[in-house]
Symmetry: C2
Subunit: 212 residues, 2 copies
C-alpha cells in the first residue's frame, strides 16, 4: 500500500501533455524509488474538494498520510526530506539544492512562464511587450549558462533542484529558445535521458491518453 | 558578533527603495530576533565575487558561517529552520508554511512580477499582451482572496510564508491593483503594521539614502 498519492487531472488537451507539473513529482518519486499511486481529479469541472487541496484549482497535489501538499516546489522539498536520493544530507549540498530549487522556480520560471504564456497565446509579434519578456528571459538564461557549463548537476549529485531547473528549461527548449545557450540545452538532454524521467514522462502520456 | 550577514546593494534608484528584496530577510530576521549585520555590494559595478554569491547578479544573499545562500525564498526557508518564531515546528503547521512560501513565489509572484515589469516599463496600454498579463494576475488574486478572508495568517501563526506573500502583494497594492480584493488588501495592511516590518522598512530606506 502506497502512502503517497499524487493527484493530477483526469485529462488535458494535447498541447500540455508531457508538460503538466505532476511530471516533476512522478520524476522525483521515480528517482527516489518511493512507492506511490496516481489519482485523478476532473479537468473540466473543478469541485470544492479540489480547491481544498490546491487553492488555485491547478494540479498536482500530493498526500502523504494526513498531510496534503500543493505547489510542485513544496512537494519536491517534501520528497527531498523523505529521500536522500533526491536531496543531499550534508549542510553544503543541501544548501546548494534548496537555493537552486528556489532559483529554478522564482528566478528562471518567473521569466519563462510569462514568456511561454505569450508563446501559447500567439502574442510573440514585434511588440515592445514581447521584446521586454524575451529580454527578461534572456537575462536569466545568460546567468544560468555559465553555471551549467561548469557542473553536471546543480548540487553535486542529482537532486530535486535539477528536476525543477531541467523541467523549467525543457519548456523553453521546446520552442528552440536554448539555441544560443548550449550548456542549458545539454543539461536538459542530460536530465531527460535519465531512466526516471523517461518513465515519468511515459506514465504521464499514458495517463492522459487513456482518458481520450 | 553576528554570524548572519545580509548583503544588499550599496545604493539603488528611488523607485525600488522600500521594495528591494533584502527587505524580506530584514523582516524575517527582526521577527526571529536573530542578530545580524548588513553589508553592501556595488550596484553600478557587479564584480565576479558578487556572482559567486548570487549567480544572477542580484541581491540579497545571506552568509551564515561558511554557508552562502541566495534567493529570498531559500533564505526565508533557512531562517525558518533556525527559528520557530518564523516557521512552525509541528508537521502540519510546517507543511502549511512551506507550501504557501512556494505558492507566494511560484504561483503569485510568477504572475505579479511580469505584471509589474510591464507597469514599470510603461507597457500597460490597451494591448492583448498587457490584457493577458493582467488576467493572469487576476486569476491568482481571485484564489488568494478567499484564503486570506478565512484566516489571519497563512500557517496559523505568522511565518515566513506571510513575509513572502505580503511582500509580493504589497507591490501589487502599490499600484492599487488590490482594490477589488479587500481581504488581500487587509492582509497587506495587517502584515506591514507589524513592528518587525516597520523596522525592516525604515532600515532599508535609511541604508539606501545614506549612500545618496
Amino acid at each position: 500500500m502506497a502512502d503517497l498519492v499524487l493527484t493530477t487531472f483526469d485529462w488535458v488537451p494535447e498541447t500540455p501533455r508531457g508538460y503538466v507539473r505532476d511530471l516533476r513529482l512522478r520524476w522525483a518519486l521515480e528517482e527516489a524509488g518511493l512507492p506511490y499511486r496516481v489519482d485523478s481529479t476532473p479537468f473540466r469541472e473543478r469541485k470544492p474538494a479540489h480547491f481544498d487541496h490546491q487553492p488555485f484549482g491547478q494540479v498536482p497535489w500530493l498526500t502523504d498520510g494526513d498531510l496534503s501538499i500543493f505547489e510542485s516546489g513544496a512537494i519536491l522539498h517534501h520528497l527531498g526530506m523523505r529521500s536522500e536520493r533526491v536531496l543531499p544530507t550534508d549542510p553544503h549540498g543541501r544548501n546548494e539544492a534548496i537555493k537552486w530549487l528556489f532559483a529554478a522556480l522564482n528566478s528562471v520560471e518567473a521569466a519563462s512562464l510569462p514568456w511561454s504564456i505569450f508563446v501559447f497565446s500567439g502574442l510573440t509579434g514585434d511588440t515592445p511587450g514581447w521584446k521586454r519578456l524575451d529580454e527578461f528571459l534572456e537575462s536569466r538564461l545568460q546567468h544560468v549558462e555559465p553555471v551549467l557549463a561548469a557542473r553536471e548537476w546543480l548540487a553535486g549529485d542529482f537532486s530535486v533542484a535539477d528536476i525543477a531547473m531541467a523541467d523549467v528549461l525543457r519548456l523553453v527548449d521546446r520552442f528552440d529558445r536554448l539555441e544560443n545557450h548550449p550548456a542549458c540545452r545539454a543539461y536538459v538532454a542530460r536530465a531527460t535521458t535519465r531512466p526516471a524521467f523517461v518513465r515519468a514522462h511515459a506514465d504521464q502520456m499514458a495517463h492522459f491518453s487513456a482518458a481520450d
